[in-house]
């Protein structure tokens, strides 16, 4: 594992795994994980909405934990494993129970917050496979949706949790 100790000037070489694939990149230290994913790795499923940690649209899993990519420096992800929305469906393209439930329950409208919602819900169900409606409201509170698809999101998380394969 390549570890950054101190950067020379303002760039660093980092190695990280994104959706189980290894990437080696030289990045400016000021690049966020969000920009790394979107601009360098062309994984644009993770959305930029506020870039300030105020909305949850850029939620990814970093070493399994739901975090905001816009407030994570790419250089700090050296040696970590990042999962994004692009890595949620199975290799054969079949959707996760949550993704399917978001479609069935119409837990989305414009879809711009949806990748972040699904990443948060994925983390929520992993930690708490059968959340109550109140726990879903707390667990999903860090993902804003301006279309107001929350009702469908609550139903989708409930549906995926009872489907049992999450």
């Amino acid at each position: 594992m390549n570890t950054v100790n101190k950067t020379i000037a303002d760039r660093a070489e980092i190695t990280l795994f994104v959706n189980r694939e290894q990437y080696i990149a030289t990045v400016p230290t000021r690049r966020t994980l969000l920009d790394l994913l979107r601009d360098d790795l062309h994984l644009t499923g993770t959305k930029k909405v506020c870039d300030m940690g105020h909305c949850g649209a850029c939620t990814v899993l970093r070493d399994g934990l739901a975090v905001l990519a816009c407030l994570t420096l790419a250089v700090a992800c050296d040696g970590t494993e990042v999962s994004t929305i692009e890595g949620i469906a199975a290799e054969d393209g079949s959707l996760s129970a949550l993704q399917q439930a978001f479609i069935e329950c119409d837990g989305l409208q414009c879809g711009f917050c949806t990748p972040g919602q699904i990443m948060s819900a994925t983390a929520l169900l992993r930690d708490n496979p059968h959340p109550s409606a109140a726990e879903i409201r707390q667990g999903m509170a860090g993902n804003l949706c301006r279309c107001g698809a929350y009702q469908g999101i609550i139903e989708a998380v409930q549906a995926a949790s009872s489907s049992g394969d999450e």
Binding site: T44, G45, V49, C50, M52, D106, Q109, C110, F112, G152
Partner: protein, 780 residues
């Protein structure tokens, strides 16, 4: 046959007579009771998979080889003149590829008012210069190196100040929008003087609503790419053809050389109906740099300059007879339009339309300030106007000691009072009844007396009702093409866009229904001005009723052609053939059934192309109707308002996709709730800067704020409006929500909140004022 006709078309709450070109005769209407296989069934979004996997490509996600990132230097002053501008230090920064400013870009923008880069800057955020760089960080570094000397001018920041006689003139066309040469728009029906003379009970009040910001999650923005003389723009927009026209005009190019693409769009709510400067600035930078350029607004810019629902100040007076018949409504409304908007929101619409009332006068003033311009925001004007009107009506009911529902039934108008005609359809009374059932009230009458619903500690419970009216009839022009491929797969083309409302899904249902093929065989292509005939803007609840009939007609045309071809091969007259589930059968017989592809195989590469257009509107006015009932709790110690339940029943004509419709209803209610209790733009009065231009400080509802929502469409087909029987549904659900919540707060506390949003500050201040008034009354 091509004909030129005049028809009434409604845009964002305003009805215009337009001259339109229509072609042939339209299909027969789908009558009430028509047996459908797909229409009216709740289906999943046809593009759900793309949206849940991150595969959907939004404008923000477009990435092209060599693409640069752009950023804009914006005015730090609410009103100033540029004395000098020097970009030379920025130009020397490594990684900077192009800079545009008034020095090298002379482009007209707001006709006779301002250029794209004007020397006069009229709000904090007005465009000064733009840079394109290898990455966005470098672009931002460069902005700090542009040297500008400003001469600061007096600014006017509030509508009260701007409308005062002698206020500094901040706009070449005056501080108040002119209407037929007069300040504001005056509407009269009957005589309010007479009406108030006849009134035995009157109430009046001054109501305020705050500026609401759209906060679409995808910000406004563009990607521009030149290929020789041809320009392609990816734009986050509600109107690709509108962007094409605006960009072509600004750059003095023929329409044929500008292509606009928007396949997925991250929310607009009205703000992306008009074209902002970004696509033109991106195109200028791309031309200079000879590379594609992406220019997306950041969140602060989005909340500073990309539109808002302007604040209102409404003075309303209503009068009625002792037995509860409305005799007069008088409304004077000011609405803030920001600096460059040239229209005022229809704040007076509800006062003119909702109730049967012979004497109505409204005056609507659109007032300019040195703030970012308004843009349409989901039922512009109606949300604000409905709050004042329905609050005043509720007060009137309290004074009359009359049940608010009884009052509304009594003052219902069966006809359109402007034209004296019947509406194409109106089921408002059914909406009241249904909303009452949905909220679970047993009684015929709605409202318990204030305070009687009881309390849970400091939380007092209340219930309130409000009504909804809006257009939503749509109209021409709208076109669609249906192509049937040799394998039986179907492509529907229309140059419109799906802004997240589920348009693509509903229109696919209509096409599949009319053709007689499974939903899965439809591929709906939209979002590209080069890949389809003209489609209208996605605004004003017009999309389904405008484009739906065109799609159906195109499908019917394609089916007719197909059956004529099949008739030859199946040796059966075409009128006896049917297309069901992708197979052609002879009416009443099972044998001889042929799959679509079998017939198409016979004709080789001939492509069946069906054409459809949206025909004229009927002479009857088309409107949507509805009612919502809110149940709330108000904490009288902390001033917090909690919305517990909202029941909503709306008359939006025939429902195409109940699943998508429910989502529209939920979303409208939540935006209405935000407008009612948490959302307000905060402006620093010394500088004119928006202080809460972020999703942190500006409070949109979270998932934890969601009340129980019980929503339903009455669902009766409006076959006079158009041959699919649907009316629009985007705007209706947001219109009554804040008003219903305000009435519920009154019902809980006995105190009338006349200012939105009902934040802890406003609730506590109103309770304190009412309390001291009460004390005063006791002492006297």
């Amino acid at each position: 046959m091509t004909r030129v006709i005049k028809t009434k078309v409604e845009i964002e709450g305003r009805v215009h007579e337009e001259t339109v070109v229509v072609e042939e005769e339209e299909p027969q209407a789908w009558e009430e009771g028509h047996q459908f296989s797909l229409v009216g069934k709740g289906v999943n979004r046809v593009d759900g998979r793309e949206r849940v996997t991150g595969a959907a490509r939004y404008t923000y996600d477009v990435s092209l080889p060599g693409m640069l990132s752009a950023a804009i230097l914006r005015s730090p002053h609410a009103h100033a003149r540029i004395v000098s501008i020097d970009t030379s230090r920025a130009a020397k920064l490594p990684g900077i590829r192009a800079i545009v400013s008034r020095e090298n870009a002379d482009v007209d923008w707001f006709k006779n008012v301002a250029k794209l880069f004007d020397s006069t800057l009229r709000f904090i955020g007005d465009d000064v210069a733009a840079v394109a760089a290898d990455d966005l960080d470098i672009a931002h570094d460069a902005l700090k190196l542009i040297d500008v000397e400003y001469e600061v001018l007096p600014a006017v920041l509030t509508i009260e100040e701007a409308s005062r006689p002698g206020a500094p003139e901040i706009h070449p066309q005056g501080n108040i929008i002119l209407h037929n040469g007069h300040n504001g728009e005056l509407f009269t029906r009957g005589s309010v003087e007479k009406g108030f003379k006849a009134a035995e009970v009157t109430v009046e009040g001054t109501y305020r609503t705050s500026t609401q910001m759209h906060n679409s999650l995808e910000t406004h923005g563009s990607v521009a790419m030149w290929e020789g003389e041809e320009l392609t723009i990816w734009e986050s927009t509600q109107y690709i053809f509108g962007v094409r026209e605006r960009v072509a005009r600004a750059l003095e190019m023929p329409l044929s050389k500008v292509r606009v693409i928007c396949e997925y769009m991250g929310g607009g709510f009205g703000s992306k109906g008009s074209t902002f400067k970004q696509p033109v600035i991106a195109a200028l930078l791309a031309r200079l740099a000879k590379r594609p350029v992406k220019l997306m607004l950041d969140r602060r810019e989005e909340n500073t300059l990309a539109g808002n629902r302007g604040e209102t100040l409404q003075k309303i007076k209503v009068g009625a007879t002792r037995d509860g018949l409305l005799t007069a409504i008088d409304l004077e409304a000011m609405t803030g339009v920001g600096i460059y908007a040239s229209w005022a929101a229809s704040v007076s619409g509800p006062a003119q339309e909702l109730y049967k009332c012979e004497n109505v006068r409204t005056l609507t003033l659109g007032v300019r300030t040195n703030m970012g311009s308004q843009a349409a925001f989901r039922a512009p004007g109606y949300v604000e106007g409905m709050f004042a009107l329905e609050s005043a009506i509720d007060d009137l009911c309290a004074k009359l000691e009359m049940d608010p529902l009884e009052f509304r039934r009594k003052n219902h108008s069966d006809i359109d009072q402007g034209s004296g005609q019947n509406y194409s359809s109106k089921h408002l009374l059914a909406c009241y009844d249904r909303a009452l059932e949905l909220i679970g009230m047993e009684a015929e009458s709605l409202l318990p007396t204030p305070g009687s619903l009881g309390a849970n500690g400091p939380w007092l419970r209340g219930i309130g009702l409000a009504s909804q009216t809006w257009g939503g009839g749509g109209g021409p022009p709208a076109h669609a093409l249906v192509r049937i491929n040799p394998d039986g797969s179907v492509e529907v083309q229309c140059g419109m866009q799906d802004i997240g409302t589920g348009t693509k899904t509903a229109l696919s249902q209509i096409a599949a229904e009319e053709l007689g093929v499974p939903l899965e065989s439809i591929r709906f292509r939209l979002g590209d001005t080069q890949k389809g005939p003209f489609g209208p803007a996605s605004w004003g609840s017009i999309t389904t009723p405008s484009v739906g009939p065109a799609v159906r007609m195109a499908a019917a045309d394609a089916r007719k052609q197909l059956l004529e071809i099949a008739s030859y091969f199946m040796e059966t007259p075409a009128p006896s053939l049917q297309l069901v589930d992708g197979c052609i059968t002879t009416e009443g017989r099972q044998q001889g059934r042929k799959a679509l592809s079998e017939i198409l195989d016979e004709i080789g590469d001939y492509m069946i192309t069906g054409k459809g257009y949206r025909g004229p509107n009927p002479t009857e006015p088309i409107r949507t109707w509805g009612a919502q009932i809110a149940e709330v709790e108000v904490n009288v110690e902390t001033g917090q308002v909690r919305v517990l339940r909202i029941a909503a029943a709306h008359d939006v004509g025939r429902v195409i996709n109940p699943k998508g419709l429910a989502s529209q209803f939920y979303g409208g209610i939540l935006q209405g709730m935000g407008f009612g209790i948490t959302e307000e733009r905060v402006v620093d009065k010394a500088t004119g800067r928006v202080l809460n231009a972020s999703l942190d400080e500006y409070k949109i509802p979270t998932i934890a704020d969601v009340p129980v929502m019980i929503v339903e469409a009455i669902g009766k087909a409006d076959t006079l409006a158009n041959h699919i029987g649907a009316k629009g549904s985007g705007e209706p659900p947001i219109i009554p929500t804040a008003a219903a919540i305000a009435n519920a707060v009154f019902n809980a506390t006995g105190v009338r909140l006349k200012e939105l949003p009902m934040t802890p500050r406003r609730v506590l201040e109103a309770l304190a004022a009412a309390g001291s008034a009460h004390e005063g009354a006791k002492e006297a």
